[in-house]
């Protein structure tokens, strides 16, 4: 029962974490540590790609909510893409994820991210 975390920071204002395996009590601390590193880069959004996440426990949920809370505090967002049904069910029960932050596909997500980036540029102008 292990978790692999792949970080894709190729698009700087966004940090993408691809989670593979099980996110539970034993693996959540590793994710939290990774997230702390990612947050240090002050991204506009943190994306969790859950395409290969097979299982998530309440400890895993907590790690994701914690990221969400930290990002909201910094006017950022946590976005989730490719959620598998089993994981989706867990999120549904807890009901603590804003609907707008969940995307079914990479395309949807990328569109959103593009829009977000445009908006950020305009604000900076």
């Amino acid at each position: 029962m292990s978790l692999t975390i792949d970080l894709d920071a190729s698009k700087p204002p966004f940090q993408r974490l691809c989670l593979v395996g099980h996110l539970d009590t034993t693996t959540a601390p590793a994710l939290e540590k990774k997230v702390d590193e990612v947050l240090a880069a002050k991204p506009l959004a943190v994306v969790f790609d859950l395409a290969s996440l097979e299982y998530i426990s309440s400890a895993g949920l907590r790690a994701i909510f914690r990221t969400q809370k930290a990002m909201h505090a910094a006017n950022g967002e946590v976005l989730i893409v490719n959620m598998q049904p089993a994981v989706q069910k867990v999120f549904d029960i807890v009901k603590a994820l804003p609907l707008k932050s969940v995307f079914r596909s990479i395309e949807e997500l990328d569109d959103y991210l593009d829009a977000m980036q445009r908006k950020a540029r305009e604000e900076n102008r």
């Binding site: 907590r62 790690a63 029960i93 603590a96």
Partner: protein, 640 residues
């Protein structure tokens, strides 16, 4: 054969070195001894040869006198008889070795016409006297004198065998006799006598003679000269018989037969040691001269040399042996200590310190070993400390567990007054303490309020957050308006100071005992299962709010249902629905439905215990992954 290290070093290093060195040295010694022996033999042979030559030369000189006299007489046949006395006197005087000299005539051819033999000899006072042997009528031709007969027989000069001359004071003599002739016929002999005892002083140096026992054997195998003067003139046969040594006679023959110098080894004639006999022929007389030397004497020096070298070799080998002994001791002593230390460590005695001097491999090994023992001690202490710490933590956790459990109400409750409801609950943390909790209370306005909660994660952090949530619940429950209201208040309180985003899924029901009206609200919790006594099941899908502690100000709508008498409500945490078996299959809502349906009419307590037992059976020994909590409320109606 099993050798220890020391034995191996000895066998593989010291022994070959000793063998090679010893072998080489022994070979060298052997050569040394052989060379020394050869050179000694050569020296001794040369010595005896020189002695034989000297004797031969002297004999020739002496014989010459007789020969000259014979020649003279042949050239001067008319010489006056009186002058013949002068002649023999001169012959004696001519050489100190000459004891006596004579001229003897055949009676027919003598100047006197009868037996006539002028003779000169040395007196004891070393004066020379003359006489006529035939005076008093002595017939020298009648005896068996070799000096008379042999020249006639041979026709030339020759030496006689040794004979005892009684007339000359019992002295052993040899005589050289030469015939002289007239008109081709021998008419007499000219002789010179040599007294054998004088050979000692006159031929052989006296001092030399002491060291080397010289002896001369004549053609007749009699002793012409001997170390022991008494033996002079004695036949070798007599001496051999007397000494019980027949080999002496054989030796004499052998010596006489040899034409060149030689040597032989024989048991000592007059010594317990073996004797070497070096000998050389005395040509002119046909004698042989021998020299007996004790082996000890002749080879003593050689032997001493060999012995010294052998002692040296032995000392060298001893030093090598002692050196190896010392070195192996130095090498193996620390190893033995190491071995002993290892035994002690193996038996659990870790207080081991090894002495280690120097920086060789063994010293390093010893130091490493000591360090290892230290490390083991430290490890053991660390383990003990760790065990103690763990025990302390476990004690604390056990206490915490007790404390946590004591915060919750009993696992079973009944409406003792009216029999309207039963409540049963089971809580089994996955670890010592957990984040699940349940509670129930009957309010003053006649409602049974019951809750079930599941804090995210498990263990101590979950337990602490559970305490926070539960305490909050207790403080708010008394002023409860509705479950939805309770959830909202609790959520707002828990959202504060919750940096780590701990959350709790939570469900709350408020059952009006008089009517069966149930208000229920859920904060991200699994829906409750409603079971009718006839086995009909229904999930109470409530409009959910988010789990408590995550979204401040979140709304919790709540719902209202009406229970029929006998209906049971089953609330649970995901420890039940997500109990996994060994194949990673979840118990799931389906498993729960089946377990509940089977016990639709059972008491709350039996229903609760039965479901938990089903879950247990299902996981079949697989590790409990999450806290398990099951809460069952059965409403029997307004009154029983």
């Amino acid at each position: 054969m099993q050798l220890n290290l020391r034995g191996k070093i000895f066998a593989y290093v010291a022994l070959p070195v000793a063998l090679i060195l010893g072998g080489m040295e022994a070979l060298r010694l052997q050569q040394l001894a052989d060379e020394a022996t050869d050179s000694t033999i050569a020296r001794e042979t040369k010595g005896v040869e020189l002695e034989a030559r000297a004797l031969n030369a002297r004999l020739r000189e002496v014989a010459r006198i007789a020969t000259d006299t014979a020649n003279f007489l042949e050239l001067h046949p008319e010489i006056e008889p009186a002058r013949l006395f002068d002649l023999v006197r001169r012959n004696v005087a001519a050489d100190r070795l000459v004891y006596g000299a004579a001229i003897a005539f055949v009676p027919d051819a003598s100047p006197t016409g009868a037996l006539f033999s002028p003779y000169a000899f040395r007196t004891s006072g070393m004066a020379i006297e003359t006489m006529d042997i035939a005076r008093d009528g002595y017939d020298y031709t009648a005896g068996r004198w070799q000096w008379w007969r042999r020249p006639f027989k041979l026709g030339y000069g020759d030496w006689t065998d040794a004979y005892l001359d009684e007339g000359a004071g019992n002295t052993w003599m040899v005589t050289y006799a030469v015939p002289f002739k007239r008109e081709g016929l021998p008419i007499g002999v000219a002789t010179v006598d040599v007294a054998l005892p004088t050979l000692r002083a006159l031929v052989f140096g006296a001092s030399e003679e002491n060291d080397r026992k010289l002896f001369v054997v004549g053609r007749d195998l009699s002793m012409l000269f001997a170390h022991n003067s008494a033996d002079i003139g004695t036949p070798l046969k007599t001496i051999a018989e007397r000494s019980g040594r027949p080999d002496m006679l054989r030796l004499g023959r052998e010596m006489l037969a040899k034409a060149v110098p030689d040597h032989t080894v024989a048991p000592g004639w007059d010594s317990t040691d073996r004797q070497w006999v070096f000998y050389a022929p005395v040509e002119s007389s046909g004698w042989v001269l021998g020299s007996r030397v004790d082996e000890r004497e002749v080879f003593g020096a050689v032997r001493a040399q060999v012995r010294d070298a052998a002692v040296g070799l032995a000392v060298t080998l001893l030093i090598i042996g002692l050196g190896v002994l010392f070195v192996t001791r130095r090498i193996t002593a620390p190893l033995a200590r190491l071995d002993a230390a290892a035994h002690r460590v193996a038996q659990g005695d870790l207080a081991v310190t090894l002495r280690a001097e120097g920086s060789d491999e063994i010293a390093r090994l010893s130091r490493s070993f000591t360090a290892m023992a230290r490390a083991l001690v430290e490890r053991e202490q660390a383990l003990v400390a760790e065990a103690a710490a763990r025990e302390k933590i476990e004690t604390e956790l056990a206490f915490a567990k007790e404390l946590q459990r004591s915060m919750l109400p009993p696992g079973e409750a009944h409406d003792t007054a009216f029999g309207r409801y039963d409540v049963a609950a089971v809580l089994e943390p996955a670890r010592a303490v957990g984040g699940d909790f349940f509670d129930y209370v009957v309010t003053q306005d006649g409602r049974l309020v019951f809750v079930i909660g599941d804090v995210s994660d498990k263990g101590v952090p979950a337990a602490l957050f559970m305490v926070r949530a539960h305490t909050l619940l207790r403080s708010l429950a008394g002023r409860l308006a509705s479950p939805a209201d309770l959830l909202g208040r609790m959520n707002d309180a828990l959202c504060a100071d919750n940096e780590r985003c701990m959350f709790v899924t939570f469900a709350c029901g408020a059952l009006e005992l008089s009517s069966g009206r149930l208000e229920i609200a859920s904060a991200g919790h699994e829906p409750a299962l409603r079971a009718s006594p006839d086995g009909q099941l229904a999930w109470l899908e409530v409009d959910n709010g988010p789990a408590l502690g995550l979204i401040e100000g979140a709304p919790y709508p709540g719902a209202e249902v009406r229970l029929e008498p006998g209906d049971a409500l089953v609330l649970y945490t995901d420890g039940i629905s997500e109990a996994f078996d060994a194949q990673k299959r979840a118990f799931g809502r389906a498993g729960l439905e089946a377990a509940v349906r089977e016990r639709a009419q059972a008491s709350a307590l039996d229903l609760c215990a039965g479901v938990v037992a089903e879950v247990r059976r299902f996981v079949a020994g697989a590790e409990q992954s999450d806290d398990i909590t099951l809460l069952v409320v059965r409403w029997h109606g307004a009154r029983a």
